[in-house]
Amino acid sequence: MTASPRRLAVLSMTGRLRRGQRPSLDDAQVREGLELMLLSRLFDARATTLQRLGRWGVHSPVEGQEAAVVGACLAVDPGRDWLVPQYREFPAYIHHGMPLAGIAAFFTGHPAQGRIPDGVRMLPIQVAIAAQLPHAAGLAWGLRRQGGGAVVLAYCGDGATSEGDFHEACNLAGRMQAPVVFLVQNNGWAISTPRSLQSATPSLALRALGYGFPGVRVDGNDLLAVHQATATAVARARAGEGPTLIEADTYRYSFHNTTDNPAAYADPVELAAARRQDPIERVRRYLTQRGAWDPAREAAVRERLTATLDAAVNAAARLPPPGPDECFDDIYARPPARLLRQRAGHGAPSEA
């Protein structure tokens, strides 16, 4: 049996370039990445607080996985490429052009939640695990048919790789040489189910062989490693060489979502070990060592991000409550008469 593929790593724990590695991002780009990662962590904290206060709905924090999300999305071009989310990729949505206020509206349970502005090349978040992957394969296939070199970046989790949809999508993408990058965030958990109970395979990246395209494993807490692997995959896809599967090994610091109770199942020792590999801290050290970051700058950035976040949260809170009719909106382009009648009467025929 083939052993697990070597895990690509670029940065050491202390934020130094590993021997023989060169950064695939310049300092300004890494700084952009760090800002997204910081925003993400601020957002997690805010969303959790607001959920606890009953003002926001269920939230799935990115905490601990920021490098895996951001490293990948920095490798695609929001002006050209498509992003296909699962749900745990908040900073990628921002990078791809989704307004923070729209995301905040989503969390208030407001029906405007899913509206992605025209021109933002992103599909709605997907609650049904792995269901977005066949969409991503079809979208990438369609983009290939159109020419133009656009690429799809599709995210999912380690749990998602057990679903039939993961398989069917990967196989189709391989068969169609579709320009798609499947980015698996292996965060160690699917709710309470550890990666070890999800599959006996030593690495999810090995799956790619069975679909006829490359599988790559990266240190998912290493922004530069994730970026490098994704950039390589994106270049391949743009060149018409088809999909790549990337397994980014990372760790979920917090609960699965705000309804979860990890105390029932998670191992504090394992968590403490993971926290020592913090993806943000590593980038902070890297930039600091290069003279491109310092506490003052961080304080300024945090202040700016917090203000942005405040504004978005407040805007969402000020949204007029949806009208009762809005549950009839956007179902059909040409709604059946019966639905129009239900809307008009707000009552089944019996109640008219």
């Binding site: 509206r115 049904a128 079809g138 019966r338």
Partner: protein, 325 residues
């Protein structure tokens, strides 16, 4: 006007749309070189190429799921699921994904795709090939459900379906694929959704059906005619949208109604028809809306089809009972 069978009418509609609109593409199992297991797409790959008429891997959820993605990219996918029974393998991509695509994106995206699927019993098919599961799709809002019963309707409704901006499940009765020929215009025409077709008129009782059961009702009506019972046969054509007015009109005229379908009785779409008619036209009814359906049993093996499916005799008996009441 050319004479066409139902399957030829389907093929004709597909060809016209492939010619008219470069965004249209077909995808499914064995639809290319073979031309589909019923030859519905015969010759289309040769005419339009393997990029527009695509033989897919054996994975129904991927066929439907990829269609959503293709639609986002700007294509108009017409997916074939080899038999309606195998939409079950794609069920999670149909109702929860296709049916909610517009709602989830708050109108940013639509899913102007068609899922074609042959189905229905009476031709001794293997397991699952005959399953009439249309009612399940009516319980998943966001999808239109179209059930043609004649060559003319098949073509006009399929052209409408491909042009409709909403997702459409288009169920083709395989028993009727080659049963009759009918005059079908050579060019383009569409039949609007939600308008039932009055197949024949009669004052005593209304037989409501869709798809292959319409043919059954026509035979039953002919027999009832011989007994002096004049039956209206109403072909619903589409279950979503449902022609509630048409149902009420026919029920009001005859006062007696029998609904006929190939699916099992319990929670079949006949229940919706009966419930709707009695809700909307209760005081015009002389007696209950009756249902003739398959039993609450899975589709049986070939040797038992005849005692499982609704028969002319059962429709006639129900109509007689209705008229007596």
């Amino acid at each position: 006007m050319p004479q066409m069978t139902l399957v030829e009418a389907v093929r004709d509609a597909l060809r016209l749309e492939l010619r008219r609109d470069p965004r249209v593409m077909l995808l499914g199992l064995d639809i290319g070189r073979l031309g589909g297991v019923f030859r519905a797409t015969d010759g289309l790959q040769a005419e339009f190429g393997a990029e527009r008429v695509v033989d897919m891997p054996l994975a129904e959820a991927a066929i439907v799921g990829a269609s959503i993605g293709l639609a986002v990219a700007g294509f108009v996918p017409v997916a074939e699921i080899q038999f309606l029974g195998f939409t079950h393998q794609a069920f999670h991509q149909i109702g929860p994904q296709v049916g909610r695509w517009r709602q989830r994106s708050r109108g940013r995206f639509s899913a102007p795709l068609v899922i074609r699927a042959p189905f229905g019993g009476g031709i001794r098919s293997p397991e699952f090939h005959s399953d009439a599961i249309e009612a399940q799709f009516v319980q998943t809002p966001g999808i239109k459900v179209v059930m043609p019963a004649s060559p003319y309707d098949a073509k006009g409704l399929l052209l409408e379906a491909i042009r409709d901006p909403d997702p459409v499940l288009f169920c083709e009765p395989d028993r009727l694929y080659r049963l009759h020929r009918q005059e079908v215009p050579a060019g383009e025409y569409t039949i609007p959704f939600g308008q039932a077709r009055t197949v024949r008129e009669g004052d005593d009782v209304t037989l409501v059906a869709w798809s292959a059961a319409v043919e059954l009702c026509e035979r039953a009506a002919a027999q009832l005619d011989g007994e002096g019972i004049a039956a209206t046969v109403l072909d619903l054509r589409t279950l979503v949208p449902l022609d509630v007015e048409g149902l009420v009109r026919a029920a009001t005229r005859t006062g007696r109604v029998v609904v006929v379908h190939e699916a099992p009785l319990s929670a079949g779409f006949g229940a919706e028809v009966a419930a709707t008619i009695q809700e909307e036209a209760f005081f015009a009814l002389d007696g209950p809306v009756r249902r003739v359906a398959a039993w609450d049993a899975p589709y049986p093996s070939a040797a038992l089809e005849a005692s499982y499916l609704p028969t002319v005799a059962r429709v006639v008996a129900a109509a007689r009972a209705a008229v007596r009441s």
